[in-house]
């Protein structure tokens, strides 16, 4: 079905297709529309989930954990302070190997109060064992949510997946959306380690250092295995629904001399900047990084890199740039832009490329 939807409603619509048994969520701007829409679905009977209107995000994730360990499909959504408030349980969900799916609507962190887009919230949870994907269109928000269930619930993965969409910039805009009947694209969940009353066991009892270490290592092995699962899932998705996704979305990269790397909606807007630069004779390309955990193998060649970070790790640098440097050993021009929803246009992005100073960091709108 073709329609027009907001990013938030697209996520909710995908959740309805995935039909989780339990949804536990707490409202927070700019995610609220997702839980409102799910509550509507449950009330009008078009979604059979048990909807738990929890009293906090900590409890939202805790309730998903409690439900998930019984072997049923679960979903929650949050943003910003909500994500950080549930941080403890975010860790727990991954450590407990639960295929919980969560949408996080990226938003800045106070103080001062700011409800607009920034990726620092989700990136502060990047070391928790969650898979993380960043989307840039309403359609992609929908598609990534559908795929997230299949990826998380794959036996080779059994790790939670977080779909990230930019607050307001994507969550609240209306674009066309093709809703698909999911059919058997998401197979029924079989959780091997579901809690069973006929086979009593203690989950998460005291664990010795050496055993704990081995079990943690298995999270990393599964994270590595998830690379193949994501690839297979995205291929199967393309075959079933005709829409293609991969680790990165590349635009005019083949013959590029300089690459713009960004995440979310800025990564999409960068494509317009590429067209402008190309008209000026600058051989630019855009590589929008979608998955940040597991981190993609980036085919960067010997091209110059302009990395735009809508996030920051204080005392160090932009997180995407830092990751690229660490992963590839390549230097870049790191632009910090768009924090707290700062207006960044494709003209600005083209300017970043024109004025690039490889090896330096630039705070847009602040640095001269």
């Amino acid at each position: 079905m073709l329609t027009v939807s907001t990013g938030n409603n697209a996520v909710a619509a995908a959740v309805r297709q995935a039909n989780p048994a339990v949804v536990a969520a707490y409202p927070i701007t700019p995610q609220t529309e997702i839980v409102e829409q799910i509550a509507n679905y449950v009330t009008n009977g078009s979604l059979k989930s048990k909807y738990i209107p929890v009293e906090s995000e900590h409890s939202a994730m805790a309730a998903c954990i409690g439900a998930s360990i019984t072997g049923v499909r679960t979903f929650t959504a949050t943003s910003s302070h909500g994500l950080l408030y549930m941080h403890e349980m975010v860790n727990w969900a991954a450590g407990a190997r639960l295929p919980i799916v969560m949408a996080n609507v990226n938003r800045a962190l106070g103080p001062g109060w700011n409800v607009w887009a920034e990726h620092t919230d989700a990136l502060q949870t990047r070391d928790t064992g969650w898979l993380q994907v960043y989307v840039s269109t309403v359609q992609e928000a929908y598609d990534a949510t559908l795929m997230a269930f299949r990826i998380a619930e794959d036996r080779r993965v059994y790790l939670p997946v977080m779909i990230n969409l930019d607050g307001f910039a994507l969550s609240h805009i209306s674009q066309q959306l093709e809703e698909s009947e999911v059919g058997d694209f998401i197979p029924p969940l079989v959780l091997d380690h579901a809690i069973q009353t006929d086979a009593p066991a203690g989950y998460g009892c005291m664990t010795s250092s050496a055993d704990y270490f081995r079990i943690r290592y298995d999270i990393e092995r599964s994270m590595r295995d998830s690379v193949q699962v994501i690839k297979e899932t995205e291929e199967a998705f393309a075959q079933t629904f005709g829409r293609k996704y991969s680790w990165t979305e590349e635009y005019r990269c083949e013959d590029a001399d300089v690459l713009i790397l960004a995440m979310g909606t800025l990564g999409k807007e960068a494509e317009v900047a590429v067209d402008i630069l190309r008209n000026e004779g600058v051989k630019a390309g855009s590589m929008r990084v979608r998955w940040i955990r597991p981190f993609p193998e980036l085919n960067l060649g010997d091209r110059e890199l302009v990395v735009i970070d809508r996030n920051y790790s204080f005392g160090f640098g932009g997180i995407l740039a830092t990751s690229i440097r660490a992963k590839t050993g390549k230097e870049c021009y790191n632009v910090i832009a768009g924090l707290g929803g700062q207006e960044v246009t494709y003209h600005d992005i083209a300017g970043f490329v024109r004025d690039r100073r490889i090896g330096e960091e630039f705070w847009f709108g602040v640095d001269a």
């Binding site: 738990i52 049923v72 203690g202 009892c205």
Partner: protein, 313 residues
């Protein structure tokens, strides 16, 4: 009283034990042995809770003594599914589990078993939310009046004047009135109990689990190392808490309150408060003023409970 009368009373007591226990499985769900301290009343409570609940039960345990005394992976002494979770999360995890079981059409008991720190302090928000949402579960707070697992730091449940490692001069605030906070949620069932009265406790667990919706039990759990008394006195300390009235036992079904026998007796002829305090090293330096305040608290609490039981409030 002659010896023979005494004997017959004991036989009656024994038969009562048998009658109560016959309604439950004779199975032990905690296998020999946990690594709980010798004389641990929480172990005693949980032993009877699980016997009363039976095998179709999942236990949710937040950080507390119970999370460490099960044993070290890959073994556990609990022969029942146990989900160990983070400190503040028990009631919320239980919410999710209850919803999931309901979605599967299963009637498995979900019991959260948490200490006082995990209940009256860090976990109270999740607990309040779960109760307000009508979650179908039983939440049990076993109350040893401090953070026992980490070596006896004060909790909101520590009584006035008690020494803990963070109140070395004795606690300067009174015990949080958890039960009236819980009562404000107007539950289908809530009860208080004490490890010294296992039969009473078992009956209350069985009753709680026979009711759909949120149930709450608050069980006093004397702690030999924390309260500083000889391990053999665990039952006697618990009984004395009830006899002095510092711990009142009752059931509240919606808003209708029934006092339990030992508390009724304590209302008629209470044991001296000092007898309870003197049994425990944690009260060794308690001031006369603090004792006066505690006595006032007891009188107020019992007066309110009595009025509520008689329907005159």
């Amino acid at each position: 009283m002659t010896l023979s009368i005494k004997l017959s009373l004991f036989i009656i007591a024994y038969k009562r034990v048998q009658i109560v226990m016959s309604g439950t499985s004779a199975s032990e769900y905690i296998w020999k042995c946990t690594s709980a301290c010798a004389g641990c009343s929480s172990s005693l409570i949980l032993r009877h809770v699980l016997k009363a609940a039976g095998p179709d039960t999942v236990l949710v345990v937040p950080a507390c003594c119970t999370s460490v005394l099960q044993g070290v992976w890959p073994n556990t002494s609990f022969n029942i599914p146990v989900y160990n979770v983070a400190f503040a999360a028990a009631a919320a995890v239980a919410s999710g589990m209850a919803a999931a079981f309901e979605s599967m059409g299963r009637t498995t008991n979900v019991i959260a078993y948490a200490g006082d720190g995990g209940t009256v302090d860090i976990g109270i928000q999740a607990l309040s939310g779960a109760l307000e949402r009508g979650t179908n579960f039983l939440y049990i707070c076993y109350d040893n009046e401090a953070y026992g697992n980490t070596g006896m730091q004060r909790s909101g449940s520590t009584p006035l004047g008690a020494r803990t490692t963070t109140t070395p001069g004795g606690k300067t605030h009174v015990k949080k009135d958890l039960d009236r906070i819980i009562a404000a949620h107007h539950l289908p069932y809530m009860a208080t109990a004490c490890s010294a009265y296992p039969q009473d406790l078992v009956k209350k667990v069985q009753k709680a689990l026979s009711i759909k919706g949120p149930k709450f039990m608050h069980i006093l759990a004397p702690c030999p190392p924390g309260w500083r008394y000889d391990a053999s006195q665990t039952i006697e300390v618990g009984k004395m808490a009830v006899k002095t009235g510092i711990w009142a036992m009752y059931e509240r079904e919606y808003d209708s309150l029934t006092l339990s026998g030992p508390t009724k007796a304590a209302m008629i002829k209470p044991a001296p408060l000092e007898d309870y305090l003197k049994m425990q090293g944690r009260f060794s330096s308690i001031s006369e003023d603090a004792i006066r305040v505690i006595r006032g608290e007891i009188e107020r609490n019992l007066r309110l409970l009595k009025a509520e039981a008689e329907g005159t409030c």
